[in-house]
């Protein structure tokens, strides 16, 4: 099973961090491999996922969307119905319980859309931990509501004013904090990205999505789905849905953000249009210039606005296990609108990319094919931004 013991997925992954952090990563890896088998830990996590998060999240047959598109039979995995409104809480609960067992009193996190920040702040409140969230000033502007939520939950939101003032820069600053405070702080990385063991650990905590979907699809249709579709920022909601189907004959489609269009150079399509390199502790596909400087990413969806991606997705791309495609801002807005109008569900702009992919390619699916779209989050956080754009056009 991958990753190997150094955290590699083929040529990808690994631990490319300052020496100061190496002992902390080794400690985390050791603690995790012990605690994850601990029956008390598993019981506590399962209990909270059920009663606090509200799992299992429904697998909903989107009959009206299916009819409107005239393509495959579409199911939505409703991560948007989780407490705090996205899949992010699956991971932050797991890491929060782990951090507490490791004796850490403080957690920090980076956030783009603010969903991971809210989910981390929520768990910190629940477990009585101090919590600092790094967020780019551009994202603070576009996700105002989530900033307020984090503050109400007792977290401190630290504005990051470097680079593109988005997720990448927030992650730089979170890593700098961790380098400085590593002895008593746990860094809650929000996706299947970063140095080993994070990609593995976050995959494990998010895999509850795919495990449930498998059972639910069997109950609904008596068989496996044909295709899974999820948006990919760092890749955690996609990996969580995909991973339990790894050995099954099921197509995986990861949808990246094409922003203003791939040709424009202003996009976040790391796997579709990037090159292999090292960022934020792992070897993976990145957006970079010929000299290895990281390029700014662009997307209407702050949670996808990241020039890197989790290393296991790079491995899936290389081995052909998953296909990666890109949907631009305009198309994502269409996805947002059609789900709102046909099903009465406002998706997060991130998740709208996955909806838009199926919308755009509906006719390419065979009759009766079963597709699961991961509805990774709800759109409440995006209503201001979306209404501004729709008024302008």
């Amino acid at each position: 099973m991958l990753p190997d013991k150094h955290g590699h997925f083929g040529q990808f992954g690994g631990r490319f961090v300052p020496e100061t952090l190496m002992p902390a990563l080794l400690e985390l890896e050791k603690a995790y491999s012990r605690i994850r088998r601990d029956p008390d830990f598993r019981k506590e996590l399962a209990g909270l996922l059920k009663d606090y998060v509200g799992r299992p999240s429904p697998l909903y047959f989107a009959q009206h969307l299916t009819q409107a598109l005239g393509g495959p039979k579409i199911y939505l995995k409703r991560e948007d119905l989780n407490h705090t409104g996205a899949h992010k809480i699956n991971n932050t609960l797991g890491q929060g319980l782990l951090a507490r067992r490791m004796g850490k009193k403080r957690v920090i996190a980076e956030t783009g859309a603010g969903q991971h920040g809210v989910a981390t702040a929520t768990v910190a409140a629940l477990l009585g931990m101090e919590c600092d969230i790094y967020m780019g000033t551009e994202d603070i502007r576009r996700q105002r509501l989530n900033v307020i939520r984090m503050k109400l939950l007792g977290a401190q939101v630290i504005p990051v004013e470097s680079g593109s003032c988005t997720l990448k820069d927030a992650m730089n600053e979170a890593i700098r904090d961790w380098v400085t405070n590593v002895r008593h702080t746990h860094y809650v990385i929000g996706s299947v990205a970063g140095p080993h063991p994070y990609p593995r650990l976050v995959r494990d905590f998010q895999s509850v999505i795919g495990r449930e979907a498998k059972v639910q699809m069997r109950q609904a249709e008596g068989r496996l789905p044909d295709c899974l579709v999820a948006c990919v920022g760092g890749g955690s909601n996609a990996m969580g849905l995909f991973y339990p189907f790894l050995k099954d004959p099921v197509r995986f489609i990861g949808v990246e953000a094409a922003g203003h269009g791939l040709e424009s150079g202003r996009h976040s399509a790391t796997l579709v249009a990037g090159a292999v390199g090292v960022l934020h502790g792992a070897c993976s596909y990145l957006l970079q210039d010929p000299w290895g400087n990281i390029r700014e990413a662009h997307s209407l969806a702050p949670g996808l606005d990241y020039p890197g991606v989790g290393p296991e997705h790079s491995y899936f791309k290389e081995t052909g296990r998953a296909e990666y495609v890109a949907i631009n801002d305009e198309e994502a807005l269409e996805g947002f609108k059609i789900l709102a109008r046909t099903e009465g569900i406002l998706p997060a702009l991130e998740s709208a990319h996955a909806v838009a992919y199926v919308q755009k390619h509906a006719k390419e699916f065979k009759d009766g094919e079963l597709v699961v779209i991961n509805l990774s989050g709800r759109g409440d956080k995006d209503v201001e931004a979306v209404s501004e754009i729709l008024e302008q056009s």
Binding site: F16, P18, E19, T180, L279, G292
Partner: protein
Amino acid sequence: MKKINAMFKRLAARGEKALIPYITAGDPSLALSRELVLEMAGRGADLIELGIPFSDPLADGPTIQAACQRALKQEVNLPKILDLVRTLRQDTEIPLVLMGYYNPILAYGLDRLARDAAEAGVDGFIIPDLPGEEARDWHRAACDAGLAPIFLAAPTSGPARIRKIGSLTRGFLYYVSVTGITGARAGLPEDLKTALAEVRQLVTCPLAVGFGISTPEQVRDLAPLVDGVVVGSAIVQKIACRTDAAMVKEIGDFIAELKAPLRSGQ
């Protein structure tokens, strides 16, 4: 690699310690970096670290982050830094070490960079986000080309890792004085001297200490415990944005002040 080893040997024979200043290459311009290197070499520097600017320097504080941004605005990149080293080699034999993050090095190509850098006159590399565990290919490429792959140890490392890093590193071991990022600090950790004394017992190679060291008094304090002292942000802060002729001379004066407590008999 040879020049670094020879330098430490020469100083040790005299009971002297090395001053290792850091500047970001191309801050404020490549032409001034050249002047700065020559000035520092003439005023008491024993080895110079040239920073390779990077868009996301995550082990660096605000001072060096800003220097990277200034250098990137000048479109400084690895080939231009190698050119700088080539022209410097017409005028100075001081050991030159490039310090930079792994991605630009990977983008250039490990073997190609090691060859080109050695040919240009570079003596070693410090890559702060490349721990020994991930460094097999780079270690081989650098050593094959005669370059020193210099590794860092940190206060969090613990004796077992420090021993390992000590046997992996070439040229010297770079001990990070603080649990944190680069940047000038008023005070250094209280337990730093004890830590350095312990590291001394664990490794046989020359030992240099850096991160946060900014005054001649701090240098004097640490000198007896190490073979070299690295000063970065304090110098970069003085350069910050200045392009006037007096700046180069001021940096030279600062180097002389920092070096004084490292000379024998001090």
